[in-house]
């Protein structure tokens, strides 16, 4: 597609359940990022993939959070045993390659609500 695609756009889940959020980056983009945006807050970095390098997981808030990127393209963010504080908009972005001057393109986000 022309842009970064995220699915689902909205997800309501019960506390304690696992959820998977999907990100389809722009074709050919080797860098992929996950961020979280809570109500009234800025963007919190979660994880960063770049090509075949080991991902930068330094932003994952707990071991309930994990992410993978298959074949250097699609990425899935998994949250196990969801808690109410996990409610947020999860944003995915991709850029052409690793580099400090390159624009990142963002998806529309997945709004996760844990009830």
């Amino acid at each position: 597609g022309a842009g970064v695609s995220q699915s689902p756009s909205n997800k309501v889940t019960e506390k304690g359940k696992d959820v998977e959020l999907r990100c389809d980056p722009i074709s050919g983009h080797t860098a992929l990022y996950w961020y979280r945006q809570s109500l009234g807050q800025g963007l919190e970095f979660l994880i960063y993939f770049q090509g075949n390098s080991a991902p930068d997981k330094s932003g994952l808030p707990s071991d309930r959070f994990s992410a993978e990127r298959t074949g250097g393209s699609v990425s899935t963010l998994t949250i196990q045993r969801t808690q109410q504080e996990d409610s947020a908009v999860y944003l995915c972005a991709s850029s052409l390659r690793r580099g400090s001057g390159l624009e990142a393109f963002f998806g529309q986000g997945t709004r996760l609500t844990v009830v």
């Binding site: 961020y35 800025g42 770049q50 400090s100 624009e103 963002f106 998806g107 986000g109």
Partner: protein, 112 residues
């Protein structure tokens, strides 16, 4: 380590008046800086970026920003606000590995 501070959480202007959204950064090397805009219920869109070329950067929708190394600032301006400019604005710095570091955001309100 890199960091970015947006000095105002909320700015309110009247339509047709100038806009100033302030951003200060901290970086141990020559940074790349960006401004992104997020309209309600929309994704993040790049407004403009600075990558060590011209210090005055022009972006979309009439916005521009000036990189001032001596002041470690990258303030966003627009001569005349429009109602459609009402949105959340984020100042962003990247580290050498490409990780985007976001400021807390400034909500811009435009009054008729």
């Amino acid at each position: 380590a890199q960091s970015v501070t947006q000095l105002d959480s909320h700015v309110s202007v009247s339509e047709g008046t100038p806009v100033l959204l302030r951003c200060n950064y901290s970086s141990s090397y020559s940074p790349s800086l960006f401004w992104y805009v997020q309209h309600p219920n929309k994704g993040l869109q790049l407004l403009l970026k600075y990558t060590s070329a011209a210090t005055l950067v022009k972006g979309i929708n009439g916005f521009e920003a000036e990189f001032k190394k001596s002041e470690t600032s990258f303030h966003l301006t627009k001569p005349s606000a429009h109602m459609s400019d009402a949105a959340e604005y984020f100042c962003v710095v990247t580290n050498q590995g490409g990780k985007l570091i976001f400021g807390q955001g400034t909500e811009l309100s435009v009054k008729p």
